[in-house]
């Protein structure tokens, strides 16, 4: 039986995505106990230079100009044949805009068991277990991934991506591309994000609002707070979906990743899609009336004060502190 762990390396715009290193770190941790090897797999066009720091025992490349643009149907076809041919113990995908749909499609197509939202993996006596977080990060689920092959869609948080990087380039093998039909899905163009008035990914102070802000008019007190701090206002998905702030201010899985000195989270519950993008903050202070909100698991400081009572007072205190410093 093949005991190898396949890791489907994600990349976009000529860069390996962070989640790829997280997945490699996971694979490296479980592979020795399973007596298997870590095989990194890349699909794309002109991608050999992306392999240099991947902590894999081997890297297999499907490198062809026809694969330069992501198309889920092509990936399903190529990876489906590869997995059937080798039957690895596990295949790890990112639970992301590309990995999630390919993993689920393969689960249905190849009739292989799948788990998503996987945070970490464990190895017992020849068994492989998963640990996933669902329901906005409130519920933990564990179970076994049956043999011979299981598909895993992994979220960040369980492993340090640095453990998935290596100073020594892995051996690379180029694999032949199977016959490809004209795909039913084609890329027309990429639209790069507009940074708008501020680039939140570079801001040192961020005041972030979530659903708890309730309506657009209430943003005024938050903007005053950000102004007093010399910072920028950003938001979680519900606020942007309502059109209250532009998408350039979105922090989360499909928005920006941020690394401020301070991240003030106002009325944000802390859903995994948001939390994965704020982990680089030096300090997080969360304000949420729900004491069970998952954001308090990540924040260093928190309060259950009502943000509408607290924010105007906090703005005054900050103005006062600044004027005292100037004086």
């Amino acid at each position: 039986m093949n005991k190898d762990i396949f890791v489907i390396i994600e990349h976009l715009g000529g860069e390996v995505a962070d989640i790829s290193y997280v997945m490699l770190a996971a694979a490296r941790e479980i592979a020795p106990a399973l007596q298997g090897e870590v095989v990194g797999i890349l699909l794309g066009g002109g991608i050999e230079n992306l392999c240099q720091n991947l902590a894999a025992d081997r890297v297999w490349l499907f490198d062809d100009p026809r694969l330069a643009d992501y198309s889920p149907t092509t990936n399903l076809h190529i990876l489906g044949e590869l997995i059937q041919q080798h039957a690895p113990r596990a295949v790890i995908f990112g639970d992301t805009s590309t990995g999630a749909e390919v993993a689920a499609g393969l689960s249905a197509r190849l009739d292989l068991p799948m788990v998503s939202a996987c945070h970490s993996l464990t190895v017992g006596d020849q068994s492989l277990g998963y640990d996933s977080r669902i329901c906005g990060g409130r519920i933990q689920v564990q179970g076994e991934l049956p043999s011979p092959t299981a598909l895993i869609a992994m979220v960040p948080g369980g492993y340090n991506p640095d453990s998935g990087r290596s100073a020594v380039p892995p051996p690379i093998e180029r694999l032949a591309i199977p016959h490809l039909e004209e795909p039913p899905i084609r890329l027309l163009s990429y639209i790069q994000p507009e940074t708008g008035d501020v680039d939140i990914s570079r801001a040192e102070v961020l005041v972030s609002v979530g659903r708890g802000i309730q309506n657009q008019d209430n943003l005024e007190i938050v903007e005053e707070l950000a102004e007093a701090l010399g910072g920028a206002v950003c938001a979680s998905r519900p606020v942007v979906d309502q059109g209250w702030l532009p998408v350039s201010r979105l922090v989360g899985k499909s928005g920006r990743r941020v690394r401020p000195k301070i991240y003030l989270a106002l009325g944000i519950s802390g859903a995994p899609e948001h939390v994965e993008a704020i982990g680089g903050s030096q300090v997080i202070v969360a304000v949420n009336t729900d004491p069970e909100a998952p954001i308090f698991n990540l924040a260093q400081y928190g309060t259950t004060s009502d943000l509408f009572d607290l924010v105007p007072v906090l703005t005054d205190h900050i103005r006062q502190a600044r004027s005292e410093r100037v004086a």
Binding site: L12, G13, E204, Y301
Partner: protein
């Protein structure tokens, strides 16, 4: 143009969640069900396409608490046809089971386009859309925020991490996983929902057997234990603000 929107009911996270005594699922007595938020965006996207191009919009929902309310609200927003799936969708039912059942039934409705939310917060075995697409032999694209029809194709905007958007073309029929509709789901007054309750008919489709294979087995489900929790500041707004200002000073912000 025949558009189907598949809506999944999920636990309302505003309510407290509890795990059932055998530790393998949520305790249904504590769960209040509501339509998956991303599916709500899928309904809105379908209505927007209908307004732009003309279409019949059919909303399909498994029969669970709250499903009928969700259907009437969809009708009030502009859905033309409502279908309730009858079967046991609580307990161990998973996305593989629902997708497999829908894969058998939905071809009867001859869809040109199927929309569903890109994910749901309780997905544990992949999201519904890509599973359904595969069981129906159709292409799937997820993380979609914007759909424009062009003949027998759709131009869609797919969101990637970092705010990069890919404009892609997909042959129809196809399944799309909606991340966000082009505009926020519209508000409808309760009077219009009440009117829909009187006029809209709900069709029923029997789903006799749910095959749950394809998902990893659950051996333990529990509330996430808070490890290192935030240091909490209590007191009146003045006292809390003082503590936050002190943190800012310590970190060189002030």
């Amino acid at each position: 143009m025949n558009i189907l929107v598949i809506v999944k009911m999920v636990p309302d996270l505003v309510e407290e969640l509890a795990v059932d005594p055998d530790g393998k699922g949520l305790d249904p007595d504590w769960v209040r069900w509501k339509p998956n938020e991303f599916d709500d965006h899928a309904i809105e996207q379908a209505i927007l396409i209908k307004e732009r191009h003309g279409a019949q919009v059919t909303v399909v929902i498994p029969d669970m608490d709250g499903a009928e309310d969700a259907m009437y609200a969809a009708a009030a927003r502009g859905a033309d046809r409502l279908v309730k799936l009858r079967g046991d969708f609580t307990g161990s039912a998973n996305n593989h089971a629902l997708a497999r059942a829908l894969g058998k039934y939905l071809p009867e409705l001859q869809p040109d386009l199927l929309l569903t939310g890109v994910q749901a917060h309780n997905d544990l075995d992949g999201s519904l859309g890509p599973l359904l697409a595969e069981f129906m032999g159709l292409p799937y694209l997820g993380y979609v925020a914007g759909v424009h029809l062009q003949g027998d194709k759709a131009n869609v905007r797919k969101e990637h991490p970092g705010g990069v958007v890919a404009e892609m073309e997909i042959n129809l029929p196809a399944v799309l996983g909606i991340q966000a509709a082009e505009q926020a789901p519209r508000y409808v007054a309760f009077s219009r929902i009440r009117q829909a309750m009187k006029t809209a008919a709900i069709e029923e489709q029997e789903i006799p057997h749910l095959d749950i294979s394809g998902a990893a087995e659950v051996s333990l489900m529990k509330q996430v234990e808070s490890g290192e929790r935030a240091e909490m500041f209590a007191g009146d707004p003045d006292q809390v603000a003082d503590r936050i200002v002190a943190v800012m000073r310590d970190h060189g912000i002030l």
